[in-house]
Amino acid sequence: MARLMYLKGDMPYAQGSGAARGEEATDEALYERVAGGDAQAYRTLVDRHAGPQARYARRLLGNADDAQEVVQEAFLRVWREAGRWQAGQARFSTWLYKVVTNLCIDRKRRWRVLFTDAPPEETDDAPGADGQMMAAEQAAALQDCLQELAPRQKTAILLCYFEELSNREAAEIMGLTVEALESLLTRGRQRLRGLLAGRGIDKTDWYNESQETHHHYR
């Protein structure tokens, strides 16, 4: 592999070294090294966070290609803005979630994707002879329902339910109080219930499955 030269006197980084050191370090410690130009520390952060952030962005945008572009932009910022990182101010993961969330929201605004509280449109999907939709159709209907939520409601649900962040961390990412976050969650979940009913998804099935979940806590 040809070595890369930098005419402005940048120090060439060591390839493939320091992996053991990087694996044991916290995100915040790694990011402090990135501020000093440590490319290996940067790559460790990529390995840790790029996949989960791509999955989160895909759920938020509903599109894999857009999600990958968002993550690319996010990690470009990770590298470029490392010099502004102040240790102890915030967790790196929280900051990264905030960057990705804002990039997703900006992308949605740019493409003028509108979310309203209007009732969902009637679909052409007709239930089968026994009244039940096929599993694949149900999965697609679920994804459609999630994408129909208002952006902030969807973001709140994704952060709390899918990413399993605490309410405090989710609120911090969204720049809200916990009370405001809970309001978004409540409205989002109510909206989702209405959308599911409107799609003809059998409510009995979902309820029976949920009983198995919360029985552990009775």
Binding site: A2, R3, M5, Y6, L7, K8, D10, Y13, G37, A39, Y42, D47, A50, G51, A54, R55, R58, A64, A67, Q68, E69, V71, Q72, F75, L76, V78, W79, R80, Q138, A139, L142, Q143, C145, L146, I157, C160, Y161, F162, E164, S166, N167, L181, E182, L185, T186, R189, Q190, L192, R193, L196, I201, K203, W206, Y207, E209, S210, Q211, T213, H214, Y217
Partner: protein, 142 residues
């Protein structure tokens, strides 16, 4: 903790107590046990929980395209290339001495070209342009 707060917790976080705020979980469970209509309080939230759980499982695996991670890892290289005053073509990067010579020649050519009163590019500038060639910087993620 009271009934009103319990209902807010259920409406916000669902029927699964594992998802309730940790600081309030025990008190909320105790309050739930005192509610005569506890099942009715949980049922609507439980139906949404099941749908979200199903959706989470369906979207858990996201196959990233080949080269995506490699592109992200190469960001430091790409950014450094763009910051350079003089961009070095890829074919020249393996020759450190020639890289420096090329840079010096291009700079000299620029200086000479701006000083001499001529409408045509000088030989030095032409040589610099020939060595510069086409930028082949790769975009992040490609």
């Amino acid at each position: 903790m009271n009934r009103k707060r319990l209902i807010t917790i259920i409406d916000s976080y669902g029927a699964d107590a594992a998802r309730w705020p940790e600081a309030e979980r025990a008190a909320a469970l105790a309050e739930l046990s005192r509610q005569p209509d506890a099942e009715a309080l949980l049922a609507p939230a439980g139906s949404v929980d099941a749908a979200l759980t199903r959706l989470k499982a369906e979207t858990a695996d996201m196959a990233l395209p080949p080269g995506f991670m490699a592109g992200l890892r190469s960001v430091p290289v790409t950014v450094r290339q763009r910051r350079g005053w003089i961009e070095v073509p890829d074919w020249l990067k393996a020759w450190p001495q020639l890289s420096s010579l090329a840079a010096a020649m291009m700079l000299a050519g620029f200086v000479v070209g701006t000083v001499l009163p001529t409408e045509q590019p000088t030989v030095e500038i032409e040589m610099g342009l020939a060595l510069y060639g086409t930028s082949s910087n790769s975009e992040v993620g490609s």
